[in-house]
């Protein structure tokens, strides 16, 4: 039953000679909506059939089969990390749209935006005429992915949970977008930088680290996150590695019991004002990290599976193991 039929039913009930009134009332256009409402599916199928001439079926990083063009020319990114990776691969000029939160590199801010990460405007995406949308299950909602699929717009899923997976993800994305060589070069240099960091912290002590993802409730990062991985590689021992889940919550007394030597915060605008409040938490002054003033802000790229994750790694290694003689860059 469709809208016009429903209207007819209502008219029929409210008027003595319903049928005639209903036919007079429901305009022709209304009837054709009803018929055409079934059409989109057919259109989507035809679009797919037409596109497949120059398309190939690939498995994306989340394991979905997806038909993508041989040479994607108009890309829309639905996650800041993907936007960064595209620019790093020299694909900035093919990016036709990104999200309101894509702020790095600065050029990304000037691209047309499709809205927020969790609820991008579907019509904005359609209007940008992308031949490939790039999204991530860590950032976007599955409902958005489903809707795009039904609109016949291919979406390639990008995902990574560790430093290694990030490198693989960058290489894979380069392969899919015809930048295989550049991606391999980029990943090679990133690997060298990672190895340099790992060599530099080898044999040095492993300070106990608390990474504060959010302070109320006190939320930290589990082992299987970029943060856990970066801390480990930077020569630290996260006090939350043994806790279950990606973002375990920590009671303050448990934090006190585990007594971190270093506390790290993401350097983000939304976090800085909260710090004063955080420091007023009961028992806070008793922490070794607070007594020794070893609290640092580190790049918020630490939560982004993009090439800048390695910048964050280098930064964390610097604050955990400051070079001899160098002044500590304590921000508080």
């Amino acid at each position: 039953m469709l809208f016009s039929e429903w209207l007819e039913l209502v008219c029929e009930i409210f008027t003595p000679s319903g049928r005639i009134a209903a036919q007079r009332f429901v305009p022709c256009s209304q009837r054709s909506w009803a018929r055409e409402f079934r059409a989109p599916l057919l259109v989507a199928v035809l679009t797919l059939a037409g596109a497949s001439l120059s398309a190939r079926e690939v498995t994306d990083q989340t394991g979905r089969r997806v038909n993508i063009p041989e040479h994607p020319e108009r890309l829309v990114s639905l996650a800041p990390s993907i936007t960064e990776t595209l620019y790093a691969l020299g694909l900035g000029d093919r990016l036709v749209g990104d999200t309101d939160y894509c702020e790095y590199p600065p050029e990304a801010k000037n691209k047309p935006h499709v809205g927020a990460i969790l609820n991008p405007s579907l019509e904005k995406i359609v209007a940008l005429k992308p031949d490939l949308v790039l999204g991530s299950p860590e950032a976007n909602r599955i409902e958005t992915v489903d809707r795009l699929a039904r609109l016949g717009i291919p979406l390639y899923g990008v995902t990574a949970h560790t430093v290694d997976e990030t490198l693989n993800s960058i290489e894979d994305l380069g392969q899919v977008l015809g930048r295989g060589v550049e991606a391999r070069e980029l990943v090679k240099s990133l690997r060298q930088r990672i190895q340099a960091v790992e060599r530099s912290v080898m044999g040095r002590g492993r300070p106990k680290v608390l990474f504060v993802v959010w302070y109320r409730p006190l939320t930290t990062a589990g082992a299987r996150t970029f943060i856990g991985d970066v801390i480990r590689r930077a020569g630290g021992a996260s006090i939350s590695d043994d806790l279950p889940g990606e973002w375990p919550r920590l009671s303050l007394e448990e934090a006190l019991r585990r007594d971190p030597e270093v506390i790290l915060f993401p350097r983000s605008e939304s976090f800085a004002p909260q710090l004063a409040e955080f420091q007023r938490l009961p028992g806070w002054r008793e922490l070794r990290a607070v007594r020794n003033r070893r609290m640092y802000f580190v790049s918020d790229a630490i939560v982004r599976p993009s090439p800048r994750l390695v910048d964050a790694l280098e930064e964390v290694a610097r604050v955990l193991h400051p070079p001899e003689g160098a002044p500590q860059e304590a921000e508080r």
């Binding site: 309101d100 969790l118 405007s121 019509e123 599955i142 409902e143 958005t144 609109l151």
Partner: protein, 333 residues
Amino acid sequence: MTLAVTRRNVVTLTLALVAGLLLVGLGALALGGVHLSLGEVWGGLRGTAAQPEASTIVREIRLPRILLAMLVGAALAVSGTALQALLRNPLADPYVLGISSGAALGAIVALYVGGRVAAASPLVAFAGALLTTAWVYLLGRRAGRLASYTLVLAGVITASFLSAVILFVLTLLSTRDVRGIAFWLMGDLSVVTDVQLRILLPVVALGILALYAFAKDLNVLLLGEEEAAHLGVNVARVQTAVYVLASLLTGMAVSVSGAIGYLGLLVPHLGRLVVGNDHRMLLPTAALGGAIVLTLSDTLARTAVAPAELPVGAVTAVAGAPVFIYLLRRAAG
């Protein structure tokens, strides 16, 4: 200022509201995150637009969403109207009675089983709504009849109990899942599917028509249960039928759109100010009024901060409360 209840007035009013609804619907079609001229909208609607994107935007993104807003708005407003009459309580509303909390918990259970929230699992959410309905109904039944105050109390307590369970489950879920649920809980019309519309349309339409069949009984019930019984109304039967139908409408609406508050409260009272307390007038007014109000709210949600979108539940609450207070005070003065 209320209209006399004649068949002529009912028809005129309904047609006027239908015309208003169509006008609002067409206006909503023309507005959105992407600017389209009226010509492009019309061309897109008829599938003759020069640009295929215009057609996709109008027919596959805006039209289904507007139809969904209309259906959900009508369902929530009618079920609010019916519940207020049934319980002789102006504060009755699907949310107060815990029905929507049941649907929400159902959706979260669906997430465990199927890995998704609203898109794939409206039926589980609906099952949650129906189970809650049955539970509150059993609690609220006394000597074969619904005792209105017991029912309201049972609903309020069940609602807060279920909300607590939802919060508890949310703390156990991963961040990724919680984001999706939080979004859905705020009221979200953005991810409608054809399938959902095809289920929703006939159920909501038939549910509203079935409730309309009880319009006279609801009028009599307003006098009190004993009086209604004396006047030949089978009170228990009417109560059960109206309660189940209202739950059905709410369950369907909540399962696809999440928690859109205020509509079930605001629209019926708006309607009463205009057409009075006769349900032969009030029910169609609430149905079409609800459709109009939610379509307007969702259009605002889509366009106010475009290309980002607001949760429509926030729009109905923020816009609804002041309007409601103003109308109440004006009516009192």
